[in-house]
Amino acid sequence: MSEAGQLSQRQPLPVGSAGKLSTGWWGILALIVTEASLFGYLLFAYFYLASQTEQSWPPEGLPALLVPTVNTAILLASSAGVWAAERYVRQGRRQSSIAGLVAAIALGSSFVVIQLLEWRDKSYGITSDLYGSLYFTITGFHMCHVVIGLGILMLLLVWTLLGYFDGRRHAAITIGGAYWHFVDIVWLFVFSALYVSPYLIK
C-alpha cells in the first residue's frame, strides 16, 4: 500500500462546496486574475495615450474630487457589509447576515446613482474627444462590473432569505463576496488613475 493511500482513507472529508475547498472559490480567483488584467490593460491604454498626447491633459482641466471621493468611500463601505454578512452567516446569525447584504446592496446602488449623476454633469461625452472616450469607456467598464456585482449580491440575499446557508455551508457567499470585493478594489485603481493622477502628473 502506498503512502498516499494510507494518508487519510479513514478520515472523514468534507463533501461538496465546502468554503475555500470548493472548486468555485478557486474559479472565482482565476476569474479575478483575468478581470484584473482587463482593467490593467484599460489603464495601460489610458496612460499610454495620455503620455503620447500633445494636448493638455485632461483637456477639460483637473477633475473635481469631492463627489468621487465620497462615492469611493460609499463603495468601500459596501464591501464591509458583504464582509460582515459572510462573518455572520459563519456564526449562524442569519438575520444579521441579511442586514449586511441589504446594506451592501443599498450602498452599491447609491454608488451607481451618484456615478450616473457624475456622468450627466460632465461637459464632454464618449465621442467628443480622446479623453472623453477613455473616461467613459473605463468608468463604463467598471459600472458594468458594479451592476453585475449588485445582481450577484441580490441573488445571495434571496438565497440567504430562503435559508440555503448556515454556519457550515455558505460557499456561495464567500465566492460572490470575493467578486464584490474585487469590484471595489479595482475601483481604487480606476479612481487613482482618472481622478488622482492628473494632480500628480502634469
Binding site: 500500500m1 502506498s2 503512502e3 493511500g5 461538496g16 495601460f44 499610454y48 465621442t127 472616450s133
Partner: protein
C-alpha cells in the same frame, strides 16, 4: 466508521463523509452503478446536455480539425493564384479576405482549440480524475468556440469577410478605410471567442490544482499538463488585451470614439501594443501544450522516461515568462526608441535558451532510448527537426537590423509556418495517431500512417523552405500577384507544388482515420505499453474514467516495475485496483494543490442544458450588437442572465446549500 460519526454529530447530514475505499473489479455492481450515474442520456437530449470531458474533447478536436481543413483550402486557393506571375484567379480584395481568413482560422479557430481538445480529453485521464473541475463550464467553452467560429465566417459567403490580416492593424481596419461589416464581424467574433478561451483556461488552472489523483504531487504531473497549465495561465493574463483592443476598435468604428483615430490624437501604435502583448504569449500558448504532447508521448516510443523532466517543466514556464517580454519584436519597424528595440531583441534571443533545453531533452531521450519507429514517433521526430529550423529563423529575426531587412517578407511567412506547423500540426497529427486507440478503441493503420508522414513531411519542406528564399529575394508577404521580372517565379511554383503535396499528405491521414475507425485492429487498454494513467483504463474509457480513483506513487505509474530509480528507496507503488470508490452520485476526489493529499469529496454536476443555452444567448447577443438590433441584444442579455441564474442556483444534490428541513 460512519456509525461513529452519526452518534457524535446527529446533524451530520451529508456535509462530511468517510469515503468508501475498496476494489471494483470489472463486471462488479460498483461498475454498473457508476455507469448508471455517469453515462449521458442517448439521443439529442444527451447530445445537447452532455458535460463529459471526453465527448467535449473530441468535439473540440473534430471541430478544430474541420477549421484546419477550411483554412488549408483557403491556402491552396492562394497558392494557385501565386503559382505563376500575373495570374488573375483572384481579385486583390478576394485575396485579402482569403489570407485574412486563413490566418484567423488557423491561429484562432484551429491552433488553440485543437490543443484544448487534447487537454480536455486527456487531462482527467492523465490526472486520475473523473472529470474536469467545471464540467458545465467546459461544455460552455466548446459551444461558444463553435458559435464564434460560425460567427466569424457568416460574412464570408457575402464577400465581406475580414480583410485586414489576422493582426488587423489600424488605421486600415478603422472606420475610414474599411467601411463594410468585414472588420466588425472579426472584432465581435474575437471578443466572443475570447470568452470561450477564458472560461476554458479557468477550468484547466483549477483542474490542475484541485483534481489530481492522491499521490500525484506537483513534480509527478505529465508535461502535457505543465504545457496546458502554462498556456492557460498566460491566456488569463493575455486574452483581455486582445478582447479590449477589438472592443475599442469596434467602439471606434460604430460609435465614433477616438482610441485609434489619428486625427483626434488616437494612436495606431496602441493597437499594435495591445495586439502583440496578447499575440506573443499566444504564440507560446499554441505551441507549449503541443510540445507537452511530444514530451509525454515520445518517451513511449523511446522505451525510457523523458530525459530532464524537471528541466523541461521549468523550461516550459520560463518560455512563457520570457514570452511576455518579447512582444515588441513584432514592432521593430515602427520607429520605437533604440533602447526598447535592444531590450526586446535581447529578450527574444534569450527565449531560445529554454526552447533549446526542451530540444536537447527530446534529442537525448531518443539518443539514450531504444526508438521504435512507429508513425507517432516519426511525427514527433519530424517535429524536432522543424522546430529547430523554425527556431533558427526566429533567432535570426530577433536581430533588429536583420529584422528590418526581412520584415513583412516571405521569410517571416516561412518562419511562422515552420514554427506553427512544425510545433503544432506535426505533434497534433502524431498525437492523434498515438491516442486514437484511446479515443476509439481501434489502432490506426501503420502502413498508411507512414505514407501520411513522409508525404506530409516532404510536402511541408518543399512548400515552405523556398519561402525563405522568396523572402531573401525581397518578395513582400500579402501581395496578390507579382511580375515575372522580379525573379520569384521559380520559388513560387515550387512552393505551390509543395503545398499541394502537403495537402495530399493530410488527405492520406484523413483516409487513414476513416478506414481505421471501421476496420482498425482492436486496441487493448495499453497498446503502446505506455507509462501514464490514461492507459490503465479501457479503450475507449468508461463514462466515469476510473472505477477506483488511482493512487499515484511515481511519474511513470505503469513502468514502476522496470524503473529502479522511482521505486528504489521506499518501494512505493501506484495502485489502480484499490482506492476511493465514490459512488454516491457523481463524485470525484479533491486534492491539495502541491502534495495531492485528499482534502474533499467533490460533487460533480449532472448533464445540463444551461451551458448550451448560455452559449447560444451570448452568441445571439453578439449577433445583435453586429446588426445594431438593440432590443434584441437586450432580450438576449436577459435570457442569458436567467440561464446563468438557473445554472448557479445552489443545488442540494451538489451540497451547495444545506438541506432545508433535513430532507434527503
Amino acid at each position: 466508521m460512519a456509525i461513529a460519526d452519526i452518534t457524535q454529530r446527529p446533524i451530520n447530514d451529508d456535509l462530511d463523509r468517510v469515503p468508501d475505499f475498496g476494489r471494483a473489479p470489472s463486471g462488479s455492481d460498483i461498475e454498473a452503478n457508476l455507469t448508471g450515474i455517469w453515462e449521458t442520456a442517448p439521443g439529442w437530449r444527451g447530445w445537447l446536455s452532455t458535460v463529459d470531458h471526453k465527448t467535449i474533447g473530441l468535439r473540440y478536436i473534430v471541430t478544430a480539425f474541420l477549421f484546419l481543413l477550411i483554412g488549408g483550402i483557403e491556402a491552396l486557393i492562394m497558392r494557385v493564384q501565386l503559382a505563376g506571375p500575373d495570374l488573375t484567379l483572384l481579385t486583390p480584395e478576394q485575396y485579402s479576405q482569403l489570407f485574412t481568413m486563413h490566418g484567423v482560422t488557423m491561429i484562432f479557430l484551429y491552433a488553440l482549440p485543437i490543443l484544448s481538445g487534447f487537454s480536455n480529453y486527456l487531462w482527467p485521464l492523465l490526472l486520475g480524475s473523473r472529470d474536469m473541475a467545471f464540467p458545465r463550464l467546459n461544455a460552455l467553452s466548446y459551444w461558444i468556440f463553435l458559435f464564434a467560429g460560425i460567427f466569424m465566417y457568416v460574412s464570408f459567403p457575402l464577400g465581406q469577410a475580414p480583410n485586414a490580416g489576422w493582426f488587423n492593424y489600424v488605421p486600415f481596419s478603422g472606420p475610414i478605410y474599411n467601411t463594410g461589416p468585414n472588420i466588425d464581424v472579426f472584432a465581435l467574433g474575437m471578443v466572443l471567442l475570447g470568452i470561450s478561451t477564458t472560461v476554458g483556461s479557468v477550468n484547466f488552472v483549477v483542474t490542475l490544482f484541485r483534481m489530481r489523483a492522491p499521490g500525484m504531487t506537483i513534480n509527478r504531473v505529465p508535461i502535457l499538463v505543465w504545457g496546458t497549465l502554462t498556456a492557460s495561465v498566460a491566456n488569463l493574463l493575455a486574452i483581455p488585451a486582445i478582447s479590449l483592443a477589438f472592443f475599442l476598435l469596434w467602439l471606434d468604428r460604430q460609435f465614433g470614439t477616438h482610441f485609434f483615430d489619428v486625427a483626434n490624437d488616437g494612436k495606431p501604435l496602441l493597437w499594435q501594443h495591445l495586439f502583440w502583448i496578447f499575440g506573443h504569449p499566444w504564440v507560446y500558448a499554441i505551441v507549449l501544450p503541443a510540445m507537452g504532447i511530444v514530451s509525454d508521448a515520445l518517451p513511449t516510443f523511446c522505451r525510457r522516461p523523458l530525459v530532464g523532466y524537471t528541466a523541461v517543466a521549468l523550461a516550459t514556464m520560463a518560455t512563457m515568462l520570457i514570452g511576455f517580454e518579447v512582444w515588441i519584436h513584432h514592432m521593430f519597424a515602427t520607429g520605437l526608441p533604440a533602447v526598447a528595440l535592444s531590450i526586446f531583441g535581447a529578450a527574444s534571443m534569450v527565449i531560445s535558451i529554454p526552447s533549446a533545453v526542451a530540444v536537447f531533452a527530446w534529442i537525448a531521450t531518443i539518443w539514450l532510448g531504444r526508438p521504435v519507429f512507429k508513425t507517432p514517433f516519426l511525427f514527433f521526430a519530424g517535429f524536432v527537426i522543424l522546430f529547430v529550423i523554425g527556431g533558427m529563423s526566429g533567432v535570426m529575426t530577433a536581430a533588429v537590423p536583420l529584422d528590418w531587412q526581412l520584415n513583412d517578407t516571405y521569410f517571416i511567412v516561412a518562419h511562422l509556418h515552420y514554427v506553427l506547423l512544425g510545433i503544432n500540426v506535426f505533434p497534433v497529427v502524431g498525437g492523434i495517431y498515438y491516442w486514437f486507440p484511446k479515443f476509439t478503441g481501434r489502432m490506426m493503420s501503420e502502413r498508411i500512417g507512414k505514407w501520411s508522414f513522409w508525404v506530409m513531411f516532404t510536402g511541408f519542406n518543399v512548400g515552405f523552405f523556398p519561402m525563405h528564399l522568396a523572402g531573401l529575394l525581397g518578395m513582400p508577404r500579402r501581395i496578390y500577384t507579382y511580375s515575372s521580372r522580379m525573379g520569384w517565379d521559380g520559388v513560387n511554383m515550387i512552393t505551390s507544388v509543395g503545398s499541394f503535396l502537403f495537402a495530399l499528405g493530410v488527405l492520406i491521414f484523413l483516409v487513414n482515420v476513416v478506414i481505421s475507425l471501421k476496420r482498425g485492429a482492436l486496441a487493448g487498454p495499453n497498446p503502446w505499453d505506455a507509462a501514464t494513467l490514461e492507459w490503465t483504463t479501457s479503450s475507449p474509457p468508461p463514462a466515469y474514467n476510473f472505477a477506483v480513483i488511482p493512487t499515484v506513487a511515481s511519474r511513470h505509474p505503469l513502468w514502476e516495475d522496470r524503473l529502479e530509480e522511482d521505486s528504489g528507496d521506499n518501494r512505493a507503488r501506484s495502485n489502480f485496483t484499490e482506492g476511493y470508490l465514490l459512488t454516491k452520485g457523481r463524485e470525484t476526489i479533491g486534492t491539495s494543490p502541491i502534495d495531492a493529499k485528499p482534502v474533499a469529496i467533490l460533487k460533480m454536476p449532472d448533464d445540463s442544458y444551461t451551458p448550451f443555452f448560455s452559449g447560444l444567448f451570448l452568441s445571439l447577443l453578439f449577433a445583435g450588437l453586429l446588426l445594431h438590433w438593440w432590443s434584441f441584444t437586450a432580450g438576449m442579455a436577459i435570457a442569458g442572465g436567467i440561464t446563468l441564474i438557473i445554472w448557479m442556483w445552489p443545488q442540494k444534490a451538489l451540497v451547495q446549500r444545506i438541506a432545508a428541513g433535513r430532507g434527503p
